[in-house]
Symmetry: C2
Subunit: 466 residues, 2 copies
């Protein structure tokens, strides 16, 4: 069903004619995110100004059973913002203000369409610290981070988005506006609607305000890049570091190809990689006391030297640190520039990483695909980029699907799961049966039906088609 003139008029009445778009260009623009090469344009794009307008839109959509897809920064990797069932594409872009940085309580209240890095820098100016830092922090929005429960490099020490969200203002599919909890660090008052909303990928409500806790900013860090001759040993070193009693503030893994492609893609990164190196760990420790950080770096050296490594690079200047982080954060883009690819977001208990990596390569061999692996190894969170290269479309659609299924079966057998931080969205939903039984999926569908009895909010996501 296209949007009728009647519905169009009603949308114009709610948000004003400047904020309703029917043209193909705008619809296409809002019909894609960073997920592969998918484009699913909505019938109409609307840009409400606030929760009240969103509420009116939801009431209208409910009355006429029109699908509504909440659209944020469109940097997602699981297709959560794609208007699979067309209908209304609801961009939250006008809800883009940091409402209050509360220094007395170490909290921030923000609207969803604030770029994560902008938020991090705004609180840093007040000597406060918002730790979650997805690789896309320069473009992703905090609302999307909450919707997908985004992680990032610092999650290994500081936790993911969910660990900072205290309270949410949400427009329910019915149009009702609620707060999910309270602005408190502890809360044992009824069911945890806040944590149910975090990571629900825009299927239970539209987030319009976010209250998050902050930490005092710490002032120092040490960053080191450790080259390993064997990729598996890099993975083994990960849990060895924790077992030595150290909690790094970042512990990132990059396969050889990830680095090579990135060095070609990003200009001016002055990193030399000897031929025989198979993988790197990028390791950071942070805190307020430089002496202690050097002691911890030394402990880490003692651990990694038990493996076959080349010379460790310590980033001595801010420029060097920025270059190493830019390298790490550019891997996904570099791979994307190189080939069509599918990105899986596997996660396992961290000791199982070597088994996971070995298994992924074996599965790739079996089904004829190459993969580039990297990610937040300290969390057991390995991004698997499956490269199309010169594979035929047929094999890309059949063999790779079988291979991905086997990869996920492997992660689940290792007590892991499908997604660590990207969400299930559109592209992973038909693998959900691997992680969950019918009973579990029925519970989740039941919860969805309580929030959204007409199934109008972000349909076609999370739940398998059959």
């Amino acid at each position: 069903m296209e949007i009728s003139p009647e519905i169009h008029n009603k949308l114009v009445q709610i948000v004003g004619s400047s904020y309703v778009f029917l043209d193909q260009e705008t619809r296409n623009h809002y019909g894609h995110d960073e997920t592969e090469d998918y484009v699913f344009p909505p019938h109409v794009v609307v840009k409400p100004a606030n929760a009240f307008e969103i509420s009116e839109i939801m009431k209208l959509a409910n009355e006429y059973k029109i699908p509504v897809t909440p659209i944020g920064g469109r940097t997602g990797l699981s297709g959560g913002a794609l208007s699979i069932h067309k209908g209304i594409g609801l961009s939250t872009e006008r809800l883009n203000k940091i409402l209050e940085i509360d220094e007395r309580n170490l909290q921030v209240t923000t609207e969803p369409a604030v770029i994560t890095q902008v938020l991090r820098e705004a609180v840093a100016e007040k000597n406060l610290f918002y730790p979650p830092d997805p690789s896309s922090q320069g473009s992703c929005w905090i609302g999307g981070n909450v919707a997908e429960n985004a992680g990032g490099a610092r999650a290994v020490k500081y936790g993911v988005t969910k660990d900072y969200v205290l309270n949410l203002e949400v427009v329910l599919p019915s149009g009702e506006i609620i707060w999910t909890g309270a602005n408190t660090l502890k809360n044992s008052t009824g069911y945890n609607l806040t944590q149910l909303m975090v990571g629900s990928e825009g299927t239970l409500g539209i987030i319009t305000k976010i209250v998050m806790k902050l930490l005092p900013k710490n002032s120092n860090n040490v960053l080191m890049l450790v080259p390993f001759y064997k990729a598996n040993e890099a993975c083994e070193a990960v849990s060895a570091i924790f077992r030595a009693g150290i909690i790094p503030s970042a512990l990132e893994f990059m396969e050889r190809d990830a680095i090579d492609w990135t060095l070609q893609f990003v200009e001016g990164l002055n990193v030399q990689v000897p031929d025989a190196i198979q993988a790197h760990l990028l390791i950071e420790v942070d805190g307020n006391y430089p002496d202690i950080l050097f002691q911890e770096a030394e402990k880490i050296m003692n651990v990694v030297e038990q493996f076959q490594i080349d010379e460790v690079l310590f980033a001595d200047t801010e420029d060097q640190k920025n270059a190493l982080w830019k390298m790490r954060r550019s891997v996904a883009e570099a791979v994307k520039a190189n080939s069509i690819y599918k990105e899986e977001d596997t996660v396992v208990p961290r000791y199982e990483l070597p088994k996971l990596l070995t298994g992924i390569k074996q599965i790739g061999n079996k089904y004829g695909f190459k993969s580039v692996c990297y990610g937040h190894a300290g969390d057991g969170n390995l991004h698997v980029n499956i490269i199309k290269g010169d594979m035929t479309d047929e094999n890309w659609n059949t063999e790779v699907t079988k291979g991905i299924r086997e990869i996920f079966e492997l992660t689940v057998s290792l007590k892991g799961t499908l997604s660590g931080e990207h969400g299930i969205g559109f592209v992973q939903k038909n693998y959900m049966d691997i992680a969950f039984s019918k009973v579990q999926l029925q519970l989740m569908k039941g919860i969805k039906s309580i929030f959204d009895p007409n199934g109008i909010l972000n349909p076609g996501k999370i739940f398998p088609d059959s």
Copy 2:
């Protein structure tokens, strides 16, 4: 409805005759916890051996619509384990094993009926750290901690129970046995059933296995007791400490009476309190590096010296530390020994503590009751013990109820809520309308009905009567 011979026989078939109890003494014993002086005995007490037996019991209960109340360590303060609607009292006491301490992944898998302190000591032997430490840690069970989302003194730095739970095996009211998630540090795979279960007070399922993350154990701490001439200034100092960039590992507040009563109740505590002191803060910093801890303690001294304080006591020995912690942990028992009381578990953003404390005293004056306040001030979590003393039963039941309602209205107006760590259970449920609108309560009831369509699991809890 009493338990019929037919049901009794079926229960005996499931768990064996040694584990089904109809005698009044056993039923009374399992009919109370630490909540005021309430006793609600079930019709029958059963002690299943494992999840499979619990599953069979739930199927039977569902078929015959018999209420089932899960019973843990019975140390709860909100009446969650009371068999309000009689029926089956299901004690999990035989599920009492720590199943695996996984040193490679820094995780522990445990059954619910393990005493929290036993669990903490077991992992400490492997040099690992399970931070949550409710004051009742010597007697409460980890399963109950998960059910109520228990906190404790260390939550201020390390978070509460929910921050450690990765995955739960749960018997649903239907008898189905599920895992709620995966054994991973990050998880963006479907709705967060794990966090929905944590803090749901035994109303959504019966927890039979718990997978929790652990930290490396740290080796040192500094503990100091700071006497304040004004209780409000003690509260003000709390947020000032955080604003100075310090995250203490404990920051506890005790009103004068709390200390006096405890010193009378617990023998051998060698603490002298000058007459004019109105309150104390008990402050701990922890870490691996003693020099750093002394620096941090000095920073804290700089903050607290801006207020009117008496001489600060530094605990020099383990014995002194244990004595101070024993004093703090014994407050609730000391108050209980002194008078019948009601304990409220208010929580607000920490900067609002002075307003909360002042407001509580004003409300007490208005309705004619005395209160003793203490708690986890670093989290904004203030326990309010309302003392019956020589109040008439009539005033105890009418005036105090009105006063509690005003206290909760105050907490909510300060962006706080009803319970920080004790749960709502039986005794707070009729105040839920203060924290939640009908819309929010309907969502929660809807979730309950998805898990428990017949409403047989722990009925009479969380949701208001009307």
